[in-house]
Structures are given as C-alpha cells and as structure tokens.
Assembly symmetry: C2
DNA sequence: GATCAGTGGTCCACAATATGGACCGTTGCG
DNA sequence: CGCAACGGTCCATATTGTGGACCACTGATC
C-alpha cells in the first residue's frame, strides 16, 4: 500500500503541504498523485464541481484498502483545502450517496452510488477494460507477476485494472485509481513514447506543474526515457517511482491507431534482467496486438445500432 | 427497456415536462424516476454539486443501453434545467473523466473515471452487493425469472443488481441505477413495509413531491400496500408501476436488524398465481436470511483492523 | 431553395452561491 | 490539567455559477 496522494493542481500557492517524502507523516499517504486532469484547464464556471470530483477521487483512492474509511482530517491535509470546504463538499457527496460516513469512526468511504455508477459504466461491451481482461490474466499467469492496465486520460495515465500474478512477489507501487502524468511509470511511459514528438512536448508542458512533485521526472529526463523506450520497443521503469520497484510496459492502440492505453508488468529489480525483459516485452506486445484487434473488430460492428 | 426518467425534485415549478406517459415523446424515456435523494434536504451551500451528480446519474441511466450516449437536448429536456447550465456541468464532468462525449454524435455517456470509481467501490468485502450475488443467482435459476437487489438509500430504493433468469421472459421494468421512492415496486415496498409505522410516515412525507409523478401511489394506497405486505410476509407489486409487469419482494436486514435492502423477482402477471407466490416468497425469504447471516458474520469479524 | 424546427455551442450582466477563517465542544494523550 | 488534534458549525464576503438570449449548422418539409 502507501499509495499516492495530494498536490491539487488548482492552487498554485506553494502552501508547503507535503512535508517532503521523508518521514511520512501520520498514517497518511507518503507520496504524490495527480487527482485532476489538466493543469492547463480553464475551470470556467464549474470550480466547485471540479473540487467535488477531485475529493471524490481522493476518497476512493485513500479509502481503497481501509475498510473504515478516511478521516476528515486526512482529507483536508491531503487535498490542501480548508477543512470547512472539504466538509461541506463531503456532506454533499454523502447526501448524493457517492460517499458514506461510518457512523462509528466518522470516517468517509465510497458509498452506494459509486458502486452503481461503476455497474452502469463497467459492462460497456467493446470497451477497453472489457476486452483486455483476458489479456491481463494471461500475462499475469505467464509472467507470475502483477499486471496492470493503464488508460490514457488527457495528459495523464490512470490505472484502471490490476491483476495479481500467481508468484510470491507482490507489488504495491500502483493500484486501481492511481493517476500519474504520462511518462511516470512503465505503462504511462509506454503511452507517452507512442505519441508524436509534438504531442510529447504538449504533454510535457501540460503536466509541468504536476510533475514538480515527482522528483526525477523533469522534461529532459522524460525526453530521454521516451527515446530509450522507442528504441527498445518497450518502456522500462527502472525503479524511478519507488526504489526497487521495476516495471515494463507496452502501449495499446485503439481502432484508429492512437495509443490509448498500456499493459505493464511490475516486480522487483532482480526479475528484469535483459533476457527476461525481451520475453516480457514480446508477451505484452502480443497481447497488446490482441486487444488492438478486438477493438478494431468491435469498432467495425458499430454502425449497426439495432434495438428490439 | 424504456426506463424511467425526469422530474428533478429541486425545481418545484410545474414546468409541465412529461407529456404524460401516453405516446412516448421521441426516443426519450417515457416515465419517471427520482434522481436525487431527499426532497426534504437543505442543499445548504452545495447546490451546484448536487446538480452535477443528478446529471451524472442521469447520464448513467439514460445511456445505459445506448452505446452512442445521450444527446444534450434529451438531457436538458429530462433534467428540466436550462440548456446552458446542463452543458456547463457536462463539460465539467467530461473534464473530470466521469463522462465522455462521442466525437461523432456529440452525445454523452459515462466515462473512464466512472468505471474506476466502481472498481474502487465495488469489491468491498462484506458489502451487501458482494454477499448477495450468490443468492441472486440461485433465485434467478430457481425461479427462471429476473431477480433484483434493491438497496435502501434514505427514503428511496436503488436497484443495484439485476440477474437474468434462464427463462424466456424478460422484464425491463427495472434496471441497475433506477431509483424510486420506497414503496414503488416490489423490493422497494418490501423495505418500506419492514420499517416501523413511524418511519413509514416519515418516508411518505419525504417522498410526497416525488411521488406526485407516480400515478397511483398516494399516501393512502401505500399505507394499504404496507399493511397487505406485512400480513402476507412479502411485498407484491401487481402491475402498479407498469401494467402487466408483476413482482414479488422480501426485505433483507443488516447485522443490526434494520431493513437495508430487498430481493425481488419480476415477471408477467400470469406467473404469480397464489401457489407460486408462496413458493417464491419462501425462496426469497431463505436467501434473505442467508444474506442477513453473512452480513452478521462479516460484521462480527470487523473490530480487528489489522494491517501489515 | 427558402422555411422551420431541431440540434450543439457560446456569451456575459447579474446575484445567488460557495467560500473559508474563526470558533465551539470533545476526546485522548502526557 | 493543559494541549493538540479531532469533527463540526457559523456567517459576512465576493467569487462563483447562473441562464436567457444568441449564433451556426443540419436536415426535413413545402
């Protein structure tokens, strides 16, 4: 666990919120995640809504492995917003059923409607998540490591699925719901590397402020990583996000050929010697191609919009 | 299909939105659903957030069986709000990734983050949905009819799960995400009937304005239905919501003994002769008890909040 | 090809709405 | 018994969201 938090993009005030990643304060999260989409965006008349959803994401991610939920204090700390505001929003979310408050601990976790929304969104046939489940399972089985599906969303990558492998090694560097700038993490880097140079630059500028919270991911480093990934045919994260935690990713292209996601496998550094890298890359590439084919197929059968 | 829509509670202006349920206008929905929680609630400083989530629910429900999504026009029509406002909120939702807009049709459907949220909320062990899946499958198999799990949320009931039976009869009266006042529909009525008289009255007043859109569900009728349900030991919806579509429901109690949900089975009127009613009621009651037991068990094992 | 009803999308003066610093009542630690 | 950290509440303020009016486009229908 120890999963990723903080640094809301909208308040450029330094605010000095995260006491570095040194001795992690309290039981709160120790590191950074991007909760909102673009830094570049112009809120233009919906700031409160944006804040509400950022907070909702935060509740989801922070309460992920905590059945009791997240405390108001932690949410205020991590969101960097005044307590009163956070609470007001939380009350609204509770009223809507998207968040529920534990009557005993007074902590917050995702509520009924969150599940309903997932139910409504999840089983969209022809959807990426839908068609990639089999691939994820195959990769996890074959590699015996933890496998991820990262989906591109604007200039960011969101982990939308995670499949544990049968092996003894567990990797907690990435979990469903985590969001990082494109380029941070193997899958995310694979997507970035599959973009045109022009788009890469656009992403770099768009994620600049967010990336200031990620040590060791400056523009130049990322450009180098992109170059290396293109050359190798796969993206390698050699412990840059969390020391000792390595991963290897390959981009997935949609029917139109655009890189919209990535498959990746994570484990400890020792399991990424050159030979195994090639094996893994081949494995991932095959499955990425399978998914691409499935997406293309389901795209072709679209125009028919029959109905009983 | 033809599933349920409209009548946002916050705008008491008559507005004459739904042209009755007669010749369904356009391809839009023909009937009513409650999208927001309480009529009684005091928005107190979060009206825009409430509106955003109401709209999000609306997108989810309306786009449910429509891969292309919902048009802006339909959303404005059905939400009863000015187009500009609806659009502004939609843009915000899109920016957050909870809604996506089809680049071709310009229609809106649930987006990436909606699925992620569901993923984060869904697999909460010890959760109601989690422990009731087996029961739903068993009921659907045994009855050969469509089976539902309805969860109480305030004075309303939300359909959170739906299991098709192997039989030839399909029922489209209720689908995941649909929300109705307690008392409307078999499962919903089962929950209402399991409440104390005092609570029943509270629900009746809370849902009064919403229920004005549901013909044939006035206070007196509901009180009669509650009385009948308590006597029979099960709730019967004899085609009151949609003609010819009957259903039978039984309440599910949580570890503390409160009725928090209901199991129900729906089919055509012909399949609800007295004998079969008793069979179904017994079946549902057994499963409701099973779920209750599971909830109690998982509740007891709670206090231990260990962590590596 | 002009009309019209229907889309999706944009603008901006106005005030209702969300904001957040200050404050209160508890709890639990030293 | 302070003291710190907690959840929760208040309310004057101006920032924020509001929504009527308007534009451009499309495709029936006359």
């Amino acid at each position: 666990m120890m999963a990723a938090v903080s640094a809301n993009a909208d308040a450029p005030r330094p605010a000095a919120p995260p006491p570095e990643h040194g001795k992690a304060a309290r039981r709160s999260a120790s590191w950074t995640i991007a909760h909102t989409a673009d830094d570049t965006d112009r809120p233009s008349g919906s700031q409160s809504i944006q804040r509400a959803f950022v907070l909702l994401n935060l509740v989801g991610v922070l309460a992920r492995d905590r059945p009791d939920g997240v405390s108001l204090a932690e949410l205020t700390r991590v969101s960097g917003r005044p307590k009163a505001s956070v609470r007001r929003v939380l009350v609204a979310l509770v009223a809507e059923g998207y968040v529920e408050q534990d009557p005993d601990t007074a902590c917050y976790r995702l509520g009924l409607q969150a599940g309903v929304l997932g139910e409504l969104a999840g089983h969209r046939a022809g959807d990426l998540s839908e068609v990639s489940t089999d691939s994820l399972i195959r990769i996890a089985d074959a590699s015996t490591d933890t496998t991820f599906l990262t989906v591109r969303h604007g200039s960011y990558g969101v982990c939308t699925r995670r499949q544990e492998g049968p092996g003894p090694i567990r990797n907690y560097a990435l979990a469903v719901g985590d969001r990082h700038p494109l380029g941070v993490g193997a899958g995310s880097l694979a997507v970035l590397s599959a973009l045109s140079d022009e788009n890469v630059e656009a992403v770099l500028t768009a994620t600049a402020t967010t990336r200031s919270h990620y040590p060791g991911f400056d523009d130049e480093t990322l450009r180098n990583l992109v170059r290396r990934s293109r050359q190798a045919g796969y993206a390698l994260n050699d412990g840059r996000v969390i020391a000792g935690s390595w991963a290897l990713g390959v981009a997935v292209h949609d029917a139109a050929g655009r890189p919209v996601a990535a498959l990746s496998v994570a484990s400890i550094a020792e399991r990424f010697d050159p030979e195994r890298r090639d094996e893994l890359a081949a494995l991932l590439q095959t499955e990425a191609e399978t998914i691409h084919a499935a997406l293309t197929r389901s795209q072709e059968s679209r125009p028919a919009r029959g109905q009983p």
